[in-house]
Symmetry: C2
Subunit: 451 residues, 2 copies
């Protein structure tokens, strides 16, 4: 059974997300102006084989109204040295920034420039013009091939892509950056091309299973161990969906099914989530009767793609530390603003002083005698007895309080380079009502879904 | 390396536990008097083939000074009917009780009489005189065979048996009744015969492993799954040590080793254990910071061999109930006086209201949709989310308080017939300081080793 998208809903949504002619003209104007300017600057430097290319959704007609992101690549011949590419690429880009409102140099595999210009957010990225996507010299070199492939295949399907991107954004699963682990723009475009329409993608999604392989060009396939494998038509070794997590993959299945149960506009424009106020925080803590702990520290000055993996790693490391010491961790979450917060929900932040430590069977004489002489008469031992044929000691637990455990041991955990520095400089461990001291609105919004 | 028992220690202990000549004469006098009386009574009934036999430690010279227990068997020819044995056996026994201070009828496999007479505790037990221990008609028929075997082999080793019994008593492992699960008198005698001396038994014990088989007569052996197997020389199918638990077996190994480290009188006469007073109870509870719970109910009027297995079963059932509901049980214990107490030490008697309930993977559509529709919008659900590709709900826990769980569910657990009745009539659940309301001295003694 295949279910269709109500026509009126399609139109209502498209009316809101499809760029107007005026918006499109404005964008085209800016793009032409900048391309000419880059090409002219290259010419002036005597580089007739260096020129600009627009890539990304703006180039493919798959951008959503109101988003003003442009990716302008400054392309160099394949034989250019990496050093020249970086040096001359930045030289040209900096010439362009003279008209920018603000700009800064950023670093991925090599440096590029981000600038704000007439309300647009523009990346100026030097890259090599290689002969095929399989022989790229830098990750960004792949983008022009994606661009060519999509431009050829997407004609007539642009609206389908807009709908799918909007649907995924509202569901919190759009974006392949390491903060989100969701669907990239290129991936949504390939899904639309493969399935033929927005409705077809959603119908398929209802029945997806992990291990699904989509191979548009019938390429030979390398084995990938990801929930979803979409073979890159421009580079058959690459899985376009490699960044997609099992949870975002599952969430997509979930919202596809929910959508068909009740196809409504809220699946495209999710209602705003309000920050929790102090009273709501206290109510929720009292209702759950678990222990909610926040580890708070200064956010290091690094890009999200470096920061978020480290935050997720800290969630894992802090949980592992707590569970090693017999605490039960229910749930974790993290948030980053000026400060960063790793939130941990425990069954209880206080556990008994006494800990049962099980030793060797009595009949294994050497081990048994070593165990007994180690613990006999020790100050930390409440009592020693035999259970199931084994020596058991009730001993004093070293860390019966989770906050003290985190305070004394967290900075020694495996946390990632920059978070280790930040945590080593100092951090706070807040519990229960004290969490209300974190007043940042974005944190309070996130908190609503965590507790 | 074999270690010997210091001679002076042997003498000191034997001086205290070996019956004096006067004590022995007194016992012999009583025994002769009662045997003659039983035989005469049988004769008067025209039963010349029914006569009395002394069995047990008194018959073998292996009784400890101060213990005044006599087992007098009224033996009937093998062809007697069970009905006649019971009827006539009790008739003769009741004639003897005419001189008793007090007496009562008791029941094992068939009825017998227990009486107090001139400071002795005497069992008058009817039994069949069968041709071999392998062809017994009732469990007690085996005893005369044990008696014959030991009487022949024990000559010269009586002191060794006394020392071993005393050593095991002080260690809390003597007695094969279902309260103790320790070593029976017959078992200690066989161990002395097999190893040759008290010291040899202890030397061997230091290195025992579960699965040890001792076969004095070199009989063919049935496979037994007990920690210690001692083939009954009078009935090769039977393991004399079948009642011995792994913990009492291990405890014996433990005290054998401790004894040789420091051979002292305290291994034969353990220092008295004083009852905990209220202040000590509170101090220990505050030190451990665990939750200590006592289930208190009226002790049913049944013999220890029926009561204790049911108490141990209740410890298990109550623990299982608590652990099913996510409580962590550290330790259990039980005690019976006028009231019975099952003691449970928990990590915490209060756990969070919220409970994480993990559902099916999102991609298993049928299960996933059933799970989602079951919990969506339910009052008990705090939130629903996806974790590791599975639906998860945070739901309201039904029993966040262990006391309320026990109150409402304990009587439905598998508890044994008489304890079910007793608990159904009513029970209390005490926690922490309230445990001081149990003032029985014996309970307070037991408590010292539990918390």
């Amino acid at each position: 059974m295949k279910t269709s998208i109500p026509t009126s809903l399609r139109s209502t949504v498209l009316r809101k997300i499809k760029p107007t002619s005026k918006e499109q003209e404005q964008l085209s104007g800016i793009v032409s102006y900048l391309i000419e300017k880059i090409d002219a600057t290259a010419s002036e430097l005597g580089l007739s084989d260096v020129f600009a290319q627009l890539v990304g959704s703006a180039a493919r007609g798959t951008w959503i109204s109101g988003t003003h992101d442009l990716d302008l690549f400054i392309t160099f011949p394949e034989h250019t040295s990496r050093e020249d590419l970086e040096k001359i690429g930045l030289l040209i880009a900096r010439e362009i920034t003279k008209e920018a409102d603000i700009w800064e140099e950023r670093y991925a595999e090599h440096p590029y420039i981000n600038m704000k210009f007439k309300g647009f957010d523009i990346d100026l990225v030097p890259c090599f013009r290689v002969s095929s996507a399989a022989s790229i010299k830098s990750a960004v070199d792949r983008t022009p091939f994606h661009n060519e492939f999509i431009k050829q295949k997407i004609v007539g399907l642009e609206d389908e892509v807009l709908l799918l991107k909007q649907f995924m954004s509202a569901g919190g699963i759009y974006g392949s950056e390491l903060k989100t682990h969701g669907f990239s723009g290129y991936l949504t475009e390939l899904l639309v091309i493969h399935f033929g329409s927005f409705g077809n993608v959603l119908n398929a999604g209802c029945n997806w299973h992990p291990g699904l392989v989509i191979d548009l060009e019938g390429h030979t396939i390398l084995k990938h161990n990801d929930p979803l494998v979409v073979i890159d038509p421009t580079d058959p070794k690459r899985n376009v969906a490699a960044a997609l997590s099992i949870n975002k993959f599952s969430k997509f299945i979930d919202i596809c099914r929910s959508f068909f149960e009740n196809p409504a506009e809220e699946f495209f424009f999710s209602p705003p989530v309000y920050p929790l106020n102090d009273i709501e925080i206290m109510e929720r803590i009292n209702l759950r009767k678990s222990s909610i702990i926040a580890v708070v520290f200064k956010t290091p000055d690094i890009v999200d793609d470096v920061l978020y993996p480290q935050l997720y790693k800290m969630e894992q490391s802090a949980s592992a530390l707590l569970e090693q010491h017999d605490f039960t961790v229910f749930k974790t979450g993290s948030w980053a603003g000026e400060d960063s917060v790793v939130l941990l929900e425990l069954e209880s932040s206080i556990i008994p002083n006494v800990k049962k430590h099980i030793g060797p069977p009595v009949w294994l004489r050497k081990h048994a005698e070593a165990f007994k002489s180690k613990y006999k008469g020790s100050e930390d031992v409440f009592s020693m007895y035999i259970e199931d044929g084994k020596y058991v000691v009730d001993i004093q637990r070293k860390y019966p309080d989770a906050r003290l455990l985190l305070k004394s041991r967290l900075s020694k955990c495996s946390l990632g380079k920059q978070l280790t520095s930040s945590v080593t400089e100092g951090f706070e461990v807040l519990e229960g009502a004290d969490i209300c001291r974190i007043i940042d609105v974005d944190f309070r919004v996130i908190l609503r879904n965590l507790i």
